[in-house]
Every structure is written in structure tokens, then in C-alpha cells.
């Protein structure tokens, strides 16, 4: 519940995977998904793979990788900060970590940061 000016951060384990994937694939990016199935999971792509739109919001950077969320979704998530963790699994979608047998996971806390 601690107030924070950081909207997105990575756990140590997730940060290690981001570095590992960066070494393997080059610079990365994230986009927070919504909806069903693997909705609510963060998607990790090679930088530039996913076209960022005019309404996407940049929440921060994780190990140098920009982390984006859709504008409409941001409005509804703005009162929370995100912590990107990693768990065993493989998810669905096109996220780069899936073949490694791990899946990034979004955990959340309340924040008092004004909307960016």
C-alpha cells in the first residue's frame, strides 16, 4: 500500500529474465494486456514488434524495456501500481518468455500517483 512514484517495477526474478531475454533477442518492450485467456498478463516483445498507438501510455521502463498500457485500460488501472513478477508456466499469446517455461505476471498495489 506504500505510496510510490514508480508505476511499474520488476521483481528481482523478473528483472533477471528480462536481462536474459534481452541477451537472447535484443532490446525488448512490454505491453499490458486485458481481456480473456491471458488477459491481464504483460506481453513481452522485441522492441518495435508491437505498434504503439497514439493513446498508449508509457508506464516506465524495466531493465531498459519500455512498458506500455492501452490508454483506456490505463484510465481504469491508474489507481494501481504494477509489479512484474515471473512464475512457472507458458501462457498463450506471443510473449517471448513462453518457450522458456516461464510467464511474466502482473501483480498490483494501490498507489496515490496522479494519472500521468
Amino acid at each position: 500500500m506504500a505510496a510510490s512514484d514508480v508505476r511499474v517495477r520488476a521483481t528481482a526474478a523478473a528483472a533477471e529474465w528480462i536481462r536474459k531475454l534481452t541477451a537472447q533477442h535484443g532490446p525488448l518492450m512490454f505491453h499490458q494486456s486485458g481481456g480473456c485467456c491471458d488477459g491481464s498478463a504483460p506481453m513481452c516483445y522485441r522492441l518495435g514488434e508491437f505498434k504503439i498507438g497514439s493513446r498508449d501510455v508509457l508506464l516506465g521502463e524495466l531493465e531498459g524495456a519500455p512498458f506500455w498500457i492501452g490508454g483506456d485500460q490505463f484510465e481504469r488501472w491508474a489507481h494501481t501500481t504494477l509489479t512484474i513478477d515471473v512464475v512457472k508456466g507458458r501462457g498463450a499469446g506471443f510473449s517471448l518468455e513462453a518457450p522458456e517455461g516461464v510467464r511474466f505476471l502482473t501483480r498490483s498495489d494501490l498507489c496515490d500517483v496522479p494519472p500521468a
Binding site: 505491453h31 486485458g34 481481456g35 485467456c37 491471458d38 488477459g39 512464475v87 498463450a92 506471443f94 498495489d109
Partner: protein, 506 residues
């Protein structure tokens, strides 16, 4: 009754230790010889290996599909229909086998696969076999000597990417109309649930001509991407979530091809005050409608995961609804008495728990459940969650995103207008439920809710002859219903003059 575990004595299902791809009518190994382990969520243990395909396998499937497409597209409707009916018959003859395989691969209770997933999938093939026979183009007489013919032609080779929540049923939803309309298909099942469809493919392998249906397994980034991005597909259909949905549209834009996207929802289930007016069968039906959030462990795109209850009946209704939900206890999915099984994967389980966590942090009141359930013995490693009821308000995260677990978030409303306002305060618009004895209020609510399907005094019915799809961020296009034939066909207009005289312009 308890079904024996697959690969044990007396089981309906003996999975092979390894499955390749289904290409050109044959089971073939992936080109690079790579496989990944497939886990059963029932126990959390691996039970077979699945092809880890790459672009080269996708190309091979596309080669097979393109080799078959001209002949299949010109195959008489009566013949195509007959083959779809044959697929349905074989599925029906093997219903228990497929139901047990599906349960083992996905974790859902066999009670549901026997009564819902498989019967619906079978009917889907029969439905489109029937629609296909009645499908026709049109002809218009524009003037005495000019006739406009509208003929339908298949798109060609289409890509279909299937989710893991109803592996066989969602495959049927996508395959049946595409095949009926004369297309060849390259299908990529979800990597969490790749095995049951291979049991299915082996049963029906000889029915369709080689190359008409091809199944390529693998990870999204390695197999899904080259498929969705291929200039050799005429359409891509995807069920999943919004970021991948946008990525699929982006890939489709490179080739200027259409997409069908089903990206989920956050479906409101509205209980008006008159639900409680009598203690009768309808009240019981409405309470069952509330508990429908637990169907398929909540892993349904139209999960009624926001229950909106009129303030004047709130306490009495919620007491009954909570008692009804409490009776749903996770258990062995292969026991026909079990009404809620395992979540489909460990990461799915973790995501659900992370939502229960933020629900508590946001101050929602946990009324029931809210925890992982450890079952004894072999099931100890499985992914079970207790049906969970939160009470809160619609701005909370647990009201705004699909948790895709057995978690319902309940809010009270004051009157019709507020019910609709809350129902529509969401990014999504896939499903909705309306419960009332007042037919006028029911119809007004149905029209006012911005969603593709409004179940009125029912929920979670999925007949083939009812269109399914979303408004807003829930996606583009529809599934099910005969209109799907049009979504998998081109319109050819042949504009013909039967007048021998020149027009007189030049």
C-alpha cells in the same frame, strides 16, 4: 462415477507419449524435431510431449492447405456437408473418450465435457453441415436485360488460433464454418491444451481430404506469429486477449486481410428486484444464474463475473446466492459429481490469486472463498481455486478486468438506470445477463446493454444458431450462427447484360 485416469488400465484414453503436427492428412514430426512437455492441470504433472513447431512447419502446413484448396472449394456442398456430418458422428461415437481427454488436458470437470463441450462441438459440425446445404447466393434483375448475380466463394486458406478454455469446442466453432464454406484451415491450438485435439484428429484423420485441415502446434512467438503474418493466408481468426488481438490486426494489416477477434469481456449479470418476489422455480433459476460464474472454473470469455443486484433485495438474495455457491467444491475432475475442476495452468492460477490479492487491497469484502485449494493425493499438484465472492464497487480492478477464474465481484444498484450505467461502465461488451419477471424491463435492459449477447433469464447457453461476439474492446466479428458462412466467403458479383445492343457512349 469416476473415470479412470488416462494411460491407466481401464481408461477410455491412452495418450501417446509424443504428438507431432497434423499436416496433409498425416501426423508428422516437426521439422527441427523439437518438442515441449504438456502438463495436466489435474495433477500438475506432464503426460505427453507436443511438437514445438516453427515457421518451417507452418510453411509445410500452408503448402498442404494450398494444394488442397482448389479441389475442396469446388467440392459440392452436399459432399462437404456429408463429411462434416461424418466428423460429428465419429465424435458422438467417441464422446466419452474425447470428454475424458479434454478433461485431462484442460482440467475442467468431466461432468461439463460430457454434457456441454462435446455435445455442443458435435452439434456445431451438424449445424454447419445443414446451413451449408441451404446457403445460396442471390440474383437481381436490374432492368429487363441486366442481371446481377451474387455468388459465394471460399476465401481460400485461413488461419485459426484457438484458446485453451474450451479446446475442442472453440476449435469446432472456428473449423466448422470455415470448412463448410469451402476453405482449407491451418489451426494452431493453444500450447496449454494441445493434446485433446490430437486425439480428435486421429479419429477424424481419414474423413477430410488431405490438406483441408492442418494442425500446427507450438508457441505463439514461434508458430503463431509466422502463421498470422503469412501472406499465404486469406483471413486470421483469433480468440484471446487485447494486446495479442492488436498484434494480430497489425500482422493482418501487412497483408490486407480480414480478422475475427474474440478478446473477452467483463460480463454483468443483473438481478432486478422482482427476482425475489416469489419463492419459486424462477428464483432458483436466477440463483443458479448467479453461480454460473463458476462454470468451467470461470475460464469463460463471457463469465458472469460482475453480479449487479438491486439494493432492495441485496441481503436476502446474496444470502441465498452465497449458500448456492458454497455447495460448489473443487474436486477430482474425472468424478462425474465434481462441479468445479482445475484451472488450466499454473500461470492462470497465479493470475487469479494476484487478482484476489488486489481485490483485498482495494477494500473489496471477501464474502466466500478467496484461496487456492489443495486436494489430496495425486491431485495435490493440481491448480484448484475455491469459488470466490467479492463485494465492492465497479471502479475496482476486480470489476474491470476478466480474472478468468471462479471469482465474482458483486455490487448493488438502485433502480434500472443505475443498473445499466454500471453494466456499461466497462471496456468490454461480450456477454451480459438480465434476470427479471418483467418482460418489458428485460427487453429494455437487453437493448440498453452494450454487449453482443444478452442472456435474458438464462446464462451460459451456447447454441449454434445464435450469434456470439463482442462490442467495444471485446473484438471484431461474430462466431456461431449461419452468418459465419459469410465471414468465411468472398462475394463474387457477376454483372451480366443480356442486351445485344451497344450502350451508345462511344
Amino acid at each position: 462415477m469416476h473415470y479412470a485416469r488416462p494411460n491407466t488400465d481401464g481408461s477410455k484414453v491412452q495418450f501417446e507419449s509424443r504428438y507431432g503436427n497434423f499436416i496433409g492428412g498425416e501426423l508428422v514430426a516437426p521439422v527441427k524435431g523439437r518438442y515441449f512437455e504438456n502438463v495436466s492441470p489435474v495433477t500438475g504433472r506432464g503426460f505427453c510431449e507436443i511438437a514445438r513447431s516453427g515457421a518451417e512447419d507452418v510453411e509445410r502446413a500452408l503448402d498442404a492447405a494450398h494444394a488442397a484448396k482448389i479441389k475442396w472449394g469446388k467440392t459440392a456442398a452436399a459432399e462437404r456437408s456429408k463429411l462434416l456430418l461424418r466428423i460429428a458422428d465419429v465424435m458422438e461415437q467417441n464422446l466419452e473418450l474425447l470428454a475424458v481427454a479434454e478433461t485431462w488436458d484442460n482440467g475442467k470437470p468431466v461432468r461439463e465435457t460430457l454434457a456441454a463441450d462435446l455435445p455442443l462441438a458435435i452439434d456445431h459440425f451438424r449445424y454447419f453441415a445443414g446451413c451449408l446445404r441451404a446457403d445460396e447466393g442471390s440474383m437481381a434483375e436490374l432492368d429487363a436485360n441486366t442481371v446481377s448475380y451474387h455468388l459465394k466463394e471460399p476465401l481460400g486458406v485461413v488461419a485459426q488460433i484457438i484458446p485453451w478454455n474450451f479446446p475442442l469446442l472453440m476449435a469446432a466453432w472456428k473449423m466448422a464454418p470455415a470448412l463448410a464454406a469451402g476453405n482449407c484451415v491451418v489451426l494452431k491450438p493453444a500450447e496449454q491444451t494441445p493434446a485433446s485435439i490430437m486425439v480428435w484428429a486421429k479419429l477424424v484423420a481419414d474423413i477430410l481430404p488431405p490438406g483441408v485441415l492442418n494442425i500446427v502446434h507450438g508457441f505463439g512467438i514461434e508458430a503463431g506469429k509466422p502463421l498470422a503474418q503469412s501472406p499465404r493466408i486469406a483471413k486470421v481468426a483469433f480468440t484471446g486477449e487485447t494486446t495479442t488481438g492488436r498484434l494480430i490486426m497489425q500482422y493482418a494489416s501487412e497483408n490486407i486481410i480480414p480478422v475475427t477477434l474474440e478478446l473477452g469481456g467483463k460480463s454483468p449479470n443483473i438481478f432486478f428486484a422482482d427476482v425475489m418476489a416469489k419463492d419459486d422455480a424462477f428464483r432458483q433459476k436466477a440463483l443458479e444464474g448467479f453461480a454460473m460464474f463458476a462454470l468451467n472454473q470461470g475460464e469463460v470469455c463471457t463469465c458472469p463475473s460482475r453480479a449487479l443486484v438491486d439494493g432492495s433485495i441485496y441481503d436476502a438474495f446474496m444470502d441465498l446466492a452465497t449458500a448456492r455457491t458454497r455447495a460448489i467444491e473443487p474436486g477430482d475432475p474425472l468424478d462425474t459429481n465434481t462441479r468445479i475442476g482445475a484451472q488450466a495452468s499454473n500461470d492462470q492460477l497465479e493470475k487469479i490469486l494476484s487478482y484476489i490479492d488486489i481485490g483485498k487491497k482495494e477494500g473489496a469484502k471477501l464474502r466466500l472463498g478467496g484461496e487456492r485449494v489443495k486436494l489430496p493425493g495425486e491431485l495435490a499438484g493440481g491448480y484448484y481455486v475455491a469459488p470466490t465472492i467479492f463485494e465492492g464497487q465497479n471502479k475496482m480492478r476486480i470489476f474491470q478486468e476478466e480474472i478468468f477464474g471462479p471469482v465474482v465481484s458483486v455490487a448493488r444498484f438502485d433502480g434500472f438506470d443505475q443498473a445499466i450505467e454500471i453494466a456499461n461502465d466497462t471496456l468490454y461488451g461480450l456477454g451480459a445477463g438480465v434476470w427479471t419477471r418483467d418482460v418489458h424491463a428485460a427487453f429494455r435492459a437487453g437493448r440498453a446493454i452494450e454487449a453482443g449477447r444478452v442472456w435474458t433469464n438464462c446464462y451460459h447457453l451456447y447454441p449454434a444458431h445464435a450469434a456470439f461476439g463482442g462490442y467495444k474492446h471485446s473484438g471484431i466479428g461474430r462466431e456461431t450462427h449461419k452468418m459465419m458462412l459469410d465471414h468465411y466467403q468472398q462475394t463474387k458479383n457477376i454483372l451480366t447484360s443480356y442486351d445485344e445492343k451497344p450502350m451508345g457512349f462511344f
